[in-house]
């Protein structure tokens, strides 16, 4: 539990925009992530949190610095297919039913057919969509679609679960419900989770540690350990300790004066 698994070393990302100006999306960010940890990358838009996640996922190449995961590069991990990613949108393929959407990455990874079926059943049950396997994406609500996206990532039994603002498009009620569900699901897996969000209470509720990032340029401003007992339920949100953490993190942003 305590061993460093993902090392982010002085990672910088510089874009050149259409006007030819250089944009510092990430400025020399360093970070250690432990095995089995749930960490959040928190910050307003433009702070580079999604950029960092995409660099870890090998969907982007940093302009400077490197990332080492279990002694390997992100590319090695991707080729070994050890990532599960949940995106800002559900990213379901319209022409596949819920079951076949969950199945898609497993088809590509060559998981045997029998195993696929049992894993789909298991994960559908886990995200509470047991009776919706035969439906097409357009027949589901936004919240249900996002659950399918999560089930798809989980079905890979990923060592690393990367989540990019997965609940940002949902209403507050659905979001809180899915937060709770996510923790329950995570408790049953042993994945390391990196969770990107711009919602302070969400990051406090979910994480072991919150990484606070500030924009222009994207910089690591603070790391806040969340020592709240697990398992966490939504009642926790009303406790004074919870409010304290939220206030503390909010202060981090006020200090750097955005």
């Amino acid at each position: 539990m305590s061993e460093t698994q993902i090392q982010v070393k002085d990672v910088s990302m510089v874009y050149t925009n259409n006007a030819g100006e250089k944009i510092n999306a990430l400025d020399s960010v360093s970070l250690d992530i432990k095995e089995g940890e749930f960490i959040s990358l928190l910050g307003p838009s433009g702070c580079g949190k999604t950029t960092l996640l995409r660099i870890i996922a090998d969907l982007l190449q940093p302009t400077d610095g490197e990332i080492i995961i279990d002694g390997q590069s992100p590319r090695d991990i991707r080729i070994k297919q050890e990532y599960g990613i949940v995106f800002q949108q559900p990213v379901l393929y319209d022409w596949r039913t819920v079951r076949r959407n969950i199945c898609l990455p497993m088809e590509i990874m060559g998981v045997p057919k029998k195993e696929r079926t049992s894993r789909i059943d298991e994960k559908l049950d886990l995200v509470g969509l047991k009776d919706f396997g035969k439906k097409y994406p357009f027949e589901l609500s936004g919240g249900m679609q996002q659950r399918v996206g999560i089930a798809r990532a989980l079905a890979l039994n990923p060592k690393y679960l990367l989540m990019d603002e997965p609940f940002s498009a949902l209403d507050e009620f659905t979001r809180e419900k899915l937060n709770e569900d996510l923790l329950e699901i995570w408790g049953k897996t042993k994945s390391t989770v990196i969770f990107v969000t711009h919602n302070i209470p969400e990051s406090v509720f979910l994480s072991d540690r919150v990484i606070v990032l500030t924009p222009h340029p994207g910089k690591l401003a603070a790391v806040v350990d969340i020592d709240l007992p697990r398992p966490r339920r939504n009642e926790l949100r009303d406790s004074p300790e919870f409010f304290e953490y939220v206030a503390k993190i909010r202060k981090c942003f006020q200090e750097v004066k955005m």
Binding site: R54, A57, D58, L59, R78, I79, K80, Q81, Y83, G84, I85, F87, Q88, Q89, V91, Y93, D94, W95, R96, L104, P105, E107, I108, M109, Y136, P137, F138, L156, L162
Partner: protein
């Protein structure tokens, strides 16, 4: 329910009223035409009924040419789109050329095909093939490349190979566009086949029939050929709609 009835009833009533007015000679009055210039609907129907076997045979000649040409042209167009997707930089330039190709008048093609092919059928298929190529190439290309956000990232995150991405993402994603192209090509292929028959050495087909009957001043027969051609076009169009409904029932256009 009420709306559905209205949707059918209104156009139907209008159609019947128009045919009745045409039959009673009002269209001729408004446009100042003589009966021999524009036959009335009943006359067209009677002529068609009397010459049905011949009309169907001519229709079959034209339609089979149009259909074969459409299939070949669509297949080539699709292949062009695939190649342009595999080589994005050079393929895009090629597609711009295809767009320009699309703006070329069909009528200029017919005489050229006449030079290349000796039989009317081959010439017809040649013309239709070229006409159908561009619409399919452009539509399929946009379907293969206009992907929903992140759907490509999902593939990359599990290290999918190019071929797998093509098979599991691009190909199904372009199906709605392929059907759009087919719908465009149905009308275009029939028109192209008829026009090519105007200039061909053939002695059968709707185009030849229309030209021949007009030369012999048999207007009603010419019109009845137009009716048959339109009916055939509508019929093929409906078949494609039904196919579309089954194949891409997941798509927004089908709800």
């Amino acid at each position: 329910m009420m709306n559905k009835v209205k949707n059918i009833l209104w156009p139907l009533l209008f159609g019947i009223a128009f045919l009745a007015l045409w039959q009673m000679g009002y269209v001729h009055k408004v446009l100042d035409l003589k009966p021999f210039q524009l036959p009335v609907p009943l006359e067209i129907v009677q002529t068609l009924h009397a010459n049905l076997p011949k009309a169907i045979k001519d229709c079959g000649v034209t339609l089979s040419g149009a259909f074969i040409g459409m299939m070949i042209g669509s297949a080539i167009g699709f292949m062009i789109a695939v190649i342009a997707t595999i080589f994005p930089k050079w393929g895009y330039g090629g597609l711009i050329i295809i767009t320009a190709f699309n703006a070329m008048p069909i009528v200029a093609l017919s005489p050229i095909m006449n030079l290349y092919f000796s039989t009317g059928m081959a010439q017809k298929i040649g013309v239709v093939t070229i006409v159908c190529m561009a619409a399919m190439a452009m539509n399929a290309y946009s379907g293969l490349n206009t992907l929903k956000p992140y759907s490509m990232d999902l593939m990359h995150s599990v290290a999918a190979e190019r071929w797998v991405i093509f098979k599991k993402l691009r190909l199904p994603n372009c199906m709605p566009n392929v059907f759009t192209a087919f719908k465009i090509n149905v009308a275009a292929s029939i028109i192209a086949a008829i026009i090519s028959e105007y200039f061909a050495t053939s002695t059968a087909g709707l185009g030849f029939g229309i030209k021949d009957n007009l030369r012999k001043a048999e207007m009603a027969m010419g019109w009845s050929y137009i009716v048959v051609a339109s009916l055939a076009g509508v019929l093929i169009y409906i078949v494609i709609l039904l196919l579309e409904r089954n194949v891409i029932k997941w798509h927004a256009s089908q709800r």
